[in-house]
C-alpha cells in the first residue's frame, strides 16, 4: 500500500504526513510504528501530558490515542487538544480495547473522529490512517482555497475579516501594539489602461511577492490582498517605528523593481502606504482599517510613493 493517492486525477503525496501515537505502553506504540514507519513520520508520547506538548510543538497531521492511561486519560487529553487554538484542528483517532457503548460515546463527545479497536488489525489501521490523512489534506486544501487570493497567492479579505479582530483583542490584552499597513499601487488604473490586464495582473503578483518577502519577518505577520490594487500587512507585537521601517523597506523595494509606468510621474511602478496602530482604537477592525486608509490618503495627497503614519 503506498501513501500516494489520486484525487481528481491529481496525485497527492502523503509521505510527509506526521502521525503522533500516544500510549502509556511503549510496546503498543512500537506495534503501530512497525505498521506506519514506511509511509509516514511517526512521533510518540507515553502520556497525555507529553502528547499535549508534542502536539503543540510538532503539529502532527493525525493523532492515534490510547484511552486508558495514568495521569491524563486519552479522552481528557483529546478535550484539551480540542480546546487549544493551535491544536484543535488535529484529528484524533482513539485506540480502544473495550467495547462499551458508553465509552464510545465519551470518545465522540471528547472530540475524537474515529476508533480502532485493539488488538489492532494491520490492514484496518493502515487504511483508517490513510483515509483520515486524506480527509485532513482535503480540508487543508479547501481552507487554502477559502482563505487565499487566487491571483497573488497571499491571503484574501475573508482571512483578514476573521483574523485582524483576533489580533486586536490580543493586542488590547497584552497592551502591545499591533500595526496595520495599507498599501496601494499608485496610478494602477492608468497602468492597466496602458499596458493591459495581463501585465496588470503580473504587476500585482510581483508586488504581492515583494510585500511578502520584505514585509514579513515573523511567523505571525501576514499579507492580505484587500481589494483590486490594495494590500494590507498585519504586524502583531510591532510598534509604529518598527512598522515604519517595514513600510519604508517595502516602498523602496517596489520602486527598485523598475517596472516601467509611463503614465506615472515617477516613470515606474510605485506604492503609497498608510500605517496605523490598533491600541488607540476600540476593538473594531473597521475603525482600524479606516484609520489606515486616512493615512494612506495623506500619502496620496502629499505626492504618492510615500509612507504616512
Amino acid at each position: 500500500m503506498s501513501s500516494t493517492e489520486l484525487i481528481g486525477g491529481r496525485s497527492v503525496d502523503l509521505t510527509k504526513a506526521t502521525v503522533l501515537v500516544v500510549d502509556d505502553q511503549p510496546v503498543n506504540i512500537q506495534v503501530i510504528y512497525a505498521l506506519l514507519c514506511e509511509d509516514y513520520t511517526v512521533l510518540a508520547a507515553t502520556s497525555g501530558e507529553e502528547a499535549l506538548s508534542v502536539a503543540r510543538e510538532a503539529r502532527p497531521d493525525l493523532i492515534l490515542m490510547d484511552i486508558v492511561m495514568p495521569g491524563l486519560s486519552g479522552m481528557e487529553t483529546c478535550q484539551k487538544l480540542k480546546s487549544q487554538d493551535d491544536t484543535s484542528e488535529i484529528p484524533v483517532i482513539f485506540i480502544t480495547a473495550s467495547y462499551s457503548s458508553e465509552e464510545e460515546n465519551e470518545c465522540w463527545m471528547s472530540g475524537g473522529i474515529d476508533f480502532i479497536s485493539k488488538p489492532i488489525n494491520p490492514m484496518t489501521l493502515k487504511n483508517r490512517v490513510k483515509a483520515h490523512l486524506m480527509l485532513k489534506y482535503q480540508k487543508d486544501t479547501l481552507l487554502e482555497m477559502v482563505y487565499l487570493d487566487g491571483l497573488t497567492g497571499v491571503f484574501n479579505r475573508r482571512y483578514l475579516d476573521e483574523h485582524l479582530i483576533k489580533h486586536i483583542h490580543l493586542s488590547k490584552r497584552s497592551k502591545r501594539e499591533t500595526c496595520v499597513l495599507l498599501i496601494d499601487i499608485d496610478f494602477f488604473k492608468q497602468f492597466n489602461d496602458r499596458y493591459g490586464h495581463v501585465q496588470g495582473d503580473d504587476a500585482l503578483k510581483q508586488v504581492a511577492l515583494l510585500v511578502k518577502s520584505k514585509g514579513l519577518k515573523r511567523i505571525t505577520d501576514f499579507v492580505v490582498r484587500y481589494g483590486g490594487e490594495e494590500f494590507v500587512v498585519v504586524l502583531p507585537e510591532t510598534n509604529i517605528s518598527g512598522a515604519k521601517q517595514v513600510a519604508e523597506r517595502i516602498r523602496a523595494a517596489i520602486q527598485t523593481l523598475n517596472l516601467e509606468h509611463l503614465d506615472s510621474p515617477f516613470g515606474e511602478l510605485t506604492v503609497s502606504i498608510g500605517i496605523t496602530g490598533c491600541l488607540s482604537y476600540d476593538v473594531d477592525d473597521s475603525a482600524v482599517l479606516e484609520a489606515a486608509d486616512q493615512k494612506l490618503y495623506q500619502a496620496k495627497v502629499s505626492g504618492r510613493n510615500k509612507v504616512c503614519f
Binding site: 502509556d24 511503549p26 503498543n28 506504540i29 512497525a34 511517526v42 510518540a44 507515553t46 485493539k118
Partner: protein, 221 residues
C-alpha cells in the same frame, strides 16, 4: 507448556518460527502485526521483558490486590501488550483475572494469579532467547555490513549524534533506527551511556534519552 526450563543449547538448530511454536508464541500473527519488521519487534520484546519483572513483583505483593482499580488496570494493560507480542496464554489469563477482579471472584482469582506468575516466569526465560534468535536469523548480514568498512569516523559519529539529538527532541520513533546504526561506534565512546540510551529509547523516555545524548556529545569533544 510444562514447568520445563529453557536451555540455551536448544537454540543451536532452530529458527524463530520453530522456537515460537515450541513455546506457544504466535510468531506468524506477530510478524503480520509488525509488518515483518523484526527489529521493531525485537525492541518491543526488550521493553516487554523489563515490564514482566514489574508484573511479577506486583503479583507477588499481596497488598496490590487490595487496590483493585490499579490492579485491574494493570491486568488490562498486560492483556493488550502480551497479545500484541504473541503471548496469548498470558493475555488470556490476564483477561480472566481482569474479569474476576471486576466481579469480585476472589478464590479463583488467587489460583489464576499463581498461573499467571508461572506463565510470566516462563516468558522471562523465552524472551531473551527469542531476541538472540531474531538477531541471528535477521541481523547477521547487517552486522557483517557494519564491520565491512562502514566504520564511522569521529566526525561522522558527531554528525549522526546531532541527527539523533534532533530526532529525540521531536519524539521521533525513527531515532531508534538512528541509534541502532551507530550503536557499535557509540559503545566505544561509552559503553554504559550507550546502554542507558538504548534502554531509555526502548521505553520511549525521550527526555531521559535527550540528556544522555547531550552527555555523549560532550564526551565526544
Amino acid at each position: 507448556m510444562s514447568g520445563r526450563s529453557i536451555e540455551h543449547e536448544e537454540l543451536a538448530n532452530i529458527d524463530c518460527l520453530a522456537f515460537c511454536e515450541q513455546h506457544s508464541i504466535a510468531w506468524l500473527d506477530v510478524m503480520a502485526r509488525f509488518n515483518h519488521n523484526t527489529s521493531v519487534y525485537k525492541t518491543a520484546l526488550s521493553s516487554f521483558l523489563s515490564d514482566l519483572g514489574r508484573y511479577q513483583t506486583q503479583l507477588q505483593d499481596k497488598g496490590s490486590l487490595s487496590n483493585s482499580g490499579l490492579f485491574k488496570a494493570s491486568m488490562h494493560t498486560l492483556k493488550g501488550v502480551a497479545s500484541s507480542l504473541g503471548f496469548y496464554n498470558i493475555a488470556d489469563t490476564a483477561t480472566s483475572i481482569e474479569q474476576r477482579v471486576k466481579h469480585g471472584d476472589d478464590i479463583r482469582l488467587i489460583e489464576e494469579c499463581a498461573v499467571l506468575r508461572e506463565q510470566i516466569a516462563y516468558a522471562e526465560g523465552c524472551v531473551p532467547l527469542l531476541i538472540e534468535l531474531i538477531e541471528r536469523e535477521f541481523e547477521q548480514t547487517l552486522n557483517e555490513d557494519t564491520t565491512a568498512g562502514h566504520q564511522l569516523d569521529a566526525c561522522n559519529l558527531r554528525e549522526e549524534l546531532e541527527v539523533l539529538l534532533k530526532e529525540i527532541q521531536s519524539n521521533k520513533m525513527d531515532s531508534m533506527n538512528t541509534l541502532n546504526r551507530i550503536k557499535n561506534e557509540l559503545s566505544q565512546l561509552s559503553r554504559d551511556e550507550t546502554y542507558k540510551l538504548s534502554t531509555a529509547l526502548n521505553n520511549l523516555k525521550f527526555k531521559e534519552a535527550q540528556e544522555i545524548v547531550t552527555n555523549l556529545l560532550v564526551l565526544g569533544d
